[in-house]
């Protein structure tokens, strides 16, 4: 283990990580922990490699009718039909609380395709989109 984030010990993936909100240091919302990627460590133990964010991986984790439907919608909404999850290496996680806090600013992560598309083609074109409410 290189670094462990502040938070519950032992850290339970299902209870403390999955489905929690991920935020950056300023509180901007990055997404939910839709799935986690595990890796085998030096002593053969399983450890968390990364948090995965995306509707498609969420669908694949859930399986069943709901999961298949979610994954299918994600594929349909993706411009090339091949949605990739946002992968956040676990060493960037600084704290696991009622939110999962990562040490990097939101701007450093790739903008999800749906958000980018709606921003460029719909919302961003409406007057006043660049300012918060008055």
């Amino acid at each position: 283990m290189t670094t462990t984030p502040d938070g519950p010990d032992p850290l339970r993936i299902d209870f403390h990580l999955l489905d929690r909100q991920i935020v950056d240091p300023a509180g901007a919302k990055i997404g939910k922990v839709d799935d986690v990627e595990l890796e085998v460590g030096d002593q053969g133990e399983l450890r968390i490699a990364a948090l995965l964010v995306g509707q498609h991986v969420l669908g694949e984790r859930l399986k069943g009718a709901v999961g298949r439907w979610l994954a299918a919608v994600a594929t349909r909404l993706h411009p090339e039909g091949r949605p990739q999850p946002l992968r956040i290496p676990f060493e960037h996680v600084t704290k696991v609380d009622s939110e999962v806090i990562v040490g990097l600013r939101k701007e450093l992560f790739e903008t999800p395709p749906l958000e980018k598309w709606l921003r460029d083609n719909l919302i961003g074109r409406i007057p006043g989109a660049g300012h918060a409410s008055e």
Binding site: I22, K29, G31, D34, Q55, G64, R119, L122, A129, A132
Partner: protein
């Protein structure tokens, strides 16, 4: 809270007044008028029960927000898991959409009553203004403006006295069985609708998300409780006044209430033209206020499930998905009305279906309110828990009974 005690008192007063006006919406107006016309005040106890229920629910949700800073739908996904939460999301979103359509219809009908222009012509105008407001204007100002304007519905209380209500009859009916013209099935159907009109899920989505945006903390707990415990019961009093007025005017004549202009008629009879003008203003204010809340709630639920950025404190282009959901929801709401579906019927169905989905939004809050990892020393005590569980049972009964009663009675016919 830097302005000292004076500002705090003003804040509490405004909050209470806003909660009174904000409690009533098209659902309360329709359910209470219809129940009053058909059952007199025999179902009044349900309104009281519903008000206690929304107080219990909103107090827990407010405490959860102030301590853990998590809005309701975040917790629904954390606690029910992603799959069950998806079912809840689909259900709550559809109900919120139905309610949004009903509120838009209410606004359009209030404008119709004021101008005599057909309400369908008002629908696109109202939808556009609603969207502009949600796009551009900071919300708390408007919430207060419409909440205060909604206080105009106090004319129902005044009208209840002006109509020479026979209060001994009102009292005598409180514990009475349904009248000869009705049966226990229709009694149950209207009981569920009334209960749901007081305890609507969107109110709690909205209330908790607003608390997160305003960064409530423990010091705001008192304000939040006063708003809930004073504002909602006083709002419930308006709902009861609507029922009493309707029972005086319509029950003896055996007239059913099937449109909004009938619902405001008792005020016109009791107080004349000025009363009518005031009640139309009140209906306009509360339905527009509720349309803002349901429009935002539609965005909140979807964004909070998926973990998207949401809220009005960032520029719309930084939460494009959230604003898209709001825009699309308003368009669907308006189109629903333009198909000439009857707004009152939309309201009736929105109430019954909101009773069905309520347990799934209530249960996670009750669980988190008992969780020390989230709430520390602010977890439910024994009394709050007893009340919390009691209402879980009542909410479950209403949810299970809702669809069968809808079918058996043919939507209360």
């Amino acid at each position: 809270m830097s302005g000292g005690a004076g500002k705090k008192v003003l804040g509490v007063t405004l909050g209470v007044l806003t909660a009174i006006g904000g409690f009533v919406d098209i659902g309360d107006l329709v359910a209470n008028s219809q129940a009053g016309a058909r059952f007199g005040t025999r179902l009044l106890w349900v309104v009281v029960l519903g008000v206690i229920g929304i107080c219990v629910f909103a107090e827990m949700a407010g405490r959860v927000v102030a301590v853990s800073h998590r809005p309701v739908f975040d917790l629904i996904r954390e606690r029910l898991g992603a799959r069950m939460a998806m079912v809840t999301l689909v259900g709550s979103y559809l109900v919120t959409l139905l309610t949004l359509g009903a509120e838009l219809g209410g606004v359009a009908i209030a404008l119709h009553l004021a101008t005599s222009v057909n309400y369908l012509l008002w629908v696109p105008v109202v939808a556009f203004v609603l969207w502009v407001v949600l796009w551009r204007v900071k919300f708390d100002t408007l919430e207060q403006v419409f909440g205060l304007m909604g206080l105009a519905l106090i004319v129902f209380v005044v009208a209840a006295f002006a109509l020479n209500t026979d209060w001994s009859k009102v009292g005598g009916e409180l514990t009475a069985a349904p009248p000869d013209t009705e049966n226990w099935m229709t009694y149950g159907y209207f009981a569920v609708a009334l209960f749901a009109s007081a305890l609507t899920p969107y109110e709690v989505f909205f209330f908790s998300s607003g608390g997160v945006e305003e960064r409530w903390n423990r010091s705001d707990l008192v304000t939040s409780r006063v708003n809930v415990f004073v504002g909602f019961p006083l709002g419930g009093l308006l709902a009861i006044a609507i029922m009493v007025c309707s029972s005086v005017v319509f029950e003896p004549a055996m007239v059913n209430v099937s449109n909004v202009s009938q619902a405001v008629l008792p005020v016109a009879i009791g107080l004349g033209k000025i009363g009518l003008a005031v009640v139309i203003l009140g209906v306009f204010a509360v339905t527009f206020g509720a349309a803002m809340e349901t429009g935002l709630s539609a965005g909140y639920t979807v964004a909070q499930y998926f973990g998207w950025q949401w809220g009005k404190s960032v520029a719309p282009k930084r939460d494009a998905r959230f604003h898209t959901v709001i825009l699309v929801s308003i368009v669907i709401g308006a189109v629903m009305l333009l198909t000439t579906l009857d707004p009152v019927q939309i309201t009736e169905y929105s109430l019954i279906f909101s009773a069905v989905v309520l347990p799934l939004t209530y249960l996670p809050i009750l669980l988190v309110a008992n969780d020390r990892e989230y709430l520390g020393d602010q977890v439910n005590g024994k009394i709050r828990n007893a009340l919390g569980v009691l209402f879980l049972i009542i909410i479950l009964i209403a949810a299970i009974a809702a669809i069968p009663l809808l079918i058996i009675t043919g939507a209360g016919k």
